[in-house]
């Protein structure tokens, strides 16, 4: 397989042809924060947290393939502040009540809030009115917590490739929804996968919340991304 050489913040990195910037960065021990990206599913570039500067232009690292000789800026003060701003936007855009959330401690959004030491979002809270859909047998969708990353839309499909989750409306009214027939036919494994693929606490498998005690959860003792950074 052919190898490409590129640079992240002046560090020489190697990439396989076809790898995206975030993938290649990971392999080179460089953490570029991601949120909507998920291994094994097609990148969507919804959250923009992985934005890097490529040859002076802002690009999403998760959707941009590495090219030979690419100059990537990652940890600049400007980019880090803009990323933090995106995290803060997500916190004010929805209703994120961490203290009551089943996913707390295992939530990627919250973990990014920790990593970026978000004391308080710079933006005023929007307090949207959002629905909790508890009509389904295996899962509950709490849209208050949804960040519309589309991981569930992209990653959870039926055997014949139909979307179980989809997007309704547009703009600030965009909401995730599930197909009632297809969601009713979900297996326990699929329901678990849906909950796992959701970076926040928007999709919950029934009867499994709060299983892991505080102190032992995914992000209790080490920041998100610390497993990548060398």
């Amino acid at each position: 397989m052919s190898e490409l050489t590129f640079f992240i913040d002046n560090k020489e990195c190697k990439a396989k042809k076809g790898q995206t910037i975030t993938e290649a960065a990971r392999d080179n021990g460089v953490y570029i924060p991601t949120l909507c990206d998920y291994p094994g599913i097609r990148p969507a570039g919804t959250c923009r947290i992985c934005t890097v500067k490529v040859n002076g232009r802002n690009m999403a690292g998760c959707t941009t393939p590495v090219e030979e000789g690419m100059i990537v800026e990652n940890k600049t003060a400007e980019l880090e502040d803009m990323r933090k701003a995106i995290i803060e936007m997500l916190f004010v855009e929805g209703n994120h009540m961490c203290p009551t959330c089943e996913k707390s401690g295992n939530c990627d959004l919250q973990a990014l809030g920790y990593r970026y030491t978000m004391m308080v979002p710079r933006f005023p809270y929007l307090w949207p009115s959002r629905e909790i859909d508890a009509s389904m047998p295996k899962i509950v969708i709490d849209k208050n917590r949804c960040i519309q990353c589309l991981r569930c839309v992209r990653g959870i499909t039926t055997a014949d490739g139909k979307h179980i989750f989809g997007t309704l409306h547009r703009g600030d009214k965009t909401r995730i929804s599930a197909d009632p027939e297809l969601v009713a036919a979900m297996t326990d494994e699929q329901a678990q996968k849906a909950m796992d693929i959701c970076p926040v606490g928007a999709i919950l498998k029934r009867e499994v919340g709060f299983k892991v005690p505080m102190g032992k959860r995914k992000y209790d003792s080490a920041p998100i991304g610390s497993d990548i950074e060398k």
């Binding site: 701003a85 995106i86 197909d179």
Partner: protein, 602 residues
């Protein structure tokens, strides 16, 4: 409910269950039933083998589809800034009074629905509305009364059109009261043109020759972004694919632009021929005209033009008399979404999906419609192509400025004596333009629409061209009597409404910066608020995925830059102000508890 099943199955069958025709299926159902209910959505899903949520996703994405009933008569009244300037408020009130319901709802008897809609491309004849696909312009309160009386009496909407507009608006297949208002003709678009002459020249040479000629002309895309057309075709031609496509972007949605509407009405032959030339250049056999839903009234007429061109062998097998070159054009209707003017969103929509832009790379020229290499070009660009074929690239490049060659159509509206279409040479100064259109003494000009730039007097000496003041064609003149910040606010509401919702900075950011603007407009802003507003605009611009979010803060950002005092005079001279009003915030609870709010200092 048998009716729903019947309508749905007929709609689905008439498009052979083709998922790329989902928008057409939904439109047929919407037209037949006045809504696309949950039941209809489920049935469409079953018959087309799509999940319900995907069908519902499309229904809820587009403005002209609705899950709830919108009435036998559906009034879509433009609420864009110029409509408001021209008296839209009084017209809306008149509608509400006559119909008896407010905008965004349906009359009690379910017969008439009143809805807002973004710019419908009639800025030179506002206030205007679309009722069941028929356009009514220059509305007055008296006219509204007549229209509502007619609707209540069950009259056919097209029968209520009284005077027809000029040119082809009078055609039997259009019969519209829309006016062309062509105020100034230039040598590229509105000069005499012999149908067939461009394609004849093109096919006499090789596709590479055609591309070279376009490169020699230094033609740049007329939609606004200004990408070199020859280069785009070259990329598309070279891209691997068993098929190639030409897509014409006739989804002009930038508030204030209406030039493509006039082209489509008056010189569609030139446009379709330009598509054929493009098809020859990139090696495509099929062209798609993606027509915005607001221009539905032109569809039959355009179909006839296509038929005539087929008869003349400008389209069809061996098009232009070139053996082996087959090229035809089909029309795909949009359904109300500004974002579909973005080329990859347009392709998604043409494929029957939600009009969300795609990630790039790959670019449409590499993988576009159906995954095949596709060139998406603007209506005006393709017309210019036809002229360049006839007159030559050198001739074209002799006009305009160094990086902006040729002529440009401007859609001029707002506070000027002669709103309408002007074909000008690139490089005209704003001052000259304002004089021509009768808009001297303007406070500001919005050039390039809300996503462009708002400039004041200091910039009137600047030239209209890519290097100085670029534009896709929208020019809005704003006189001194207008409250510029209100116009800015209208533009921001437009972007909030039209964001596709895919990426965070555009979806949430536009709401956040608009709230901040409102805070300042309400007199609750401080120096810190203004500084934050400026910096937040940069975040939205810098982090958004596509051109919409990358430009949506422009109304605010460019007015802070060019009209800073308008903001500064609104600021409170205090260090900190949240705008929190205790008295106001206890009103509701006191009312419920039946007590009088008692607050110290009030």
């Amino acid at each position: 409910m048998g009716n729903i099943a019947e309508v749905v199955s007929k709609a689905v069958e008439s498009y052979q269950k083709d998922p790329t025709r989902l928008l057409d299926v939904i439109r047929d159902v919407q037209d037949a039933l006045g809504q696309v209910s949950d039941e209809a959505i489920v049935q469409i899903g079953h018959l087309m083998n799509l999940s319900k949520v995907d069908v519902e996703g499309v229904v809820t994405f587009y403005h002209f589809f609705s899950k709830s009933p919108v009435g036998k008569y559906t009034v879509y009244l433009n609420n864009s800034a110029v409509a408001v300037m021209m008296g839209r408020g009084a017209i809306a009130k008149a509608f509400e009074k006559e119909v008896g319901c407010s905008f965004g709802s349906l009359s009690e008897d379910g017969k008439i629905g009143l809805y807002d809609t973004s710019c419908i491309g009639m800025n030179d004849q506002e206030p205007a509305a679309i009722i069941n696909g028929v356009v009514f312009t220059n509305l007055t309160e008296k006219r509204v009364k007549e229209l509502v009386t007619g609707m209540k009496a069950g009259r056919n909407v097209s029968d209520m059109v009284k005077d027809l507009g000029d040119g082809n608006n009078q055609s039997e297949l259009v019969k519209s009261m829309v006016k062309n208002n062509i105020r100034q003709r230039g040598s590229v678009l509105f000069a005499p043109y012999e149908s067939g002459s461009a394609l004849r020249k093109a096919v006499a040479g090789t596709p590479e020759d055609v591309i070279n000629e376009i490169k020699n002309a230094e033609l740049r895309g007329r939609g606004g972004a200004g990408f070199p057309t020859g280069m785009k075709w070259d990329f598309c031609r070279r891209a691997q694919g068993e098929r190639h496509y030409v897509v014409c972007n006739a989804d002009e949605g930038e508030p204030g632009t209406f030039k493509d509407r006039v082209i489509l009405t008056e010189i569609p032959e030139m446009l379709f021929e330009g598509m054929a030339v493009a098809g020859y250049a990139v090696g495509a056999a099929e062209g798609i005209l993606y027509l915005r839903a607001e221009y539905m009234y032109l569809k039959k007429f355009l179909e006839k033009v296509l038929d005539d061109l087929r008869k003349k062998n400008i389209l069809g097998k061996n098009a232009g008399g070139k053996t082996g070159f087959d090229f035809d054009v089909k029309i795909q209707m949009g359904a109300g979404a500004y974002i579909c003017g973005e080329e990859s969103a347009l392709i998604q929509s043409a494929e029957g999906k939600r009009g969300e832009p795609r990630n790039r790379p790959p670019f449409p020229v590499q993988r576009g419609y159906g995954g095949y290499p596709t060139t998406v070009n603007n209506v005006e660009t393709l017309c210019a192509v036809s002229r360049i074929m006839v007159e030559g690239g050198k001739w074209f490049a002799s006009m305009g400025t160094v990086q902006s060659r040729g002529m440009k159509l401007l859609s001029v509206s707002g506070d000027c004596d002669k709103p309408g279409i002007y074909e000008v040479e690139w490089g005209i100064t704003l001052e000259q333009l304002l004089k021509t259109v009768g808009g001297s003494g303007a406070q500001a000009v919005v050039i390039g629409g809300p996503s462009g730039t708002i400039v004041g007097k200091e910039a009137f000496g600047k030239k209209v061209c890519y290097q100085e003041l670029g534009t896709g064609g929208s020019v809005i003149v704003i006189s001194k009597k207008r409250n510029l910040l209100e116009i800015v606010h209208n533009f921001m509401e437009f972007f909030i409404e039209e964001s596709c919702g895919w990426c965070v900075p555009c979806r949430a950011g536009n709401v956040i910066i608009t709230n901040k603007l409102e805070k300042i407009m309400a007199g609750n802003g401080t120096k810190t608020d203004l500084a934050e507003l400026e910096s937040w605009c940069k975040i939205v611009k810098g982090m958004s995925r596509c051109g919409l979010g990358q430009t949506s803060p422009n109304p605010i950002a460019t007015t802070i830059a060019n009209f800073r005092s308008l903001y500064e005079e609104k600021l409170k001279k205090v260090e900190y102000e949240t705008g929190f009003d205790l008295l106001k915030s206890v009103q509701e609870s006191c009312k419920v508890a039946n007590r009088k709010p008692k607050i110290e200092g009030h």
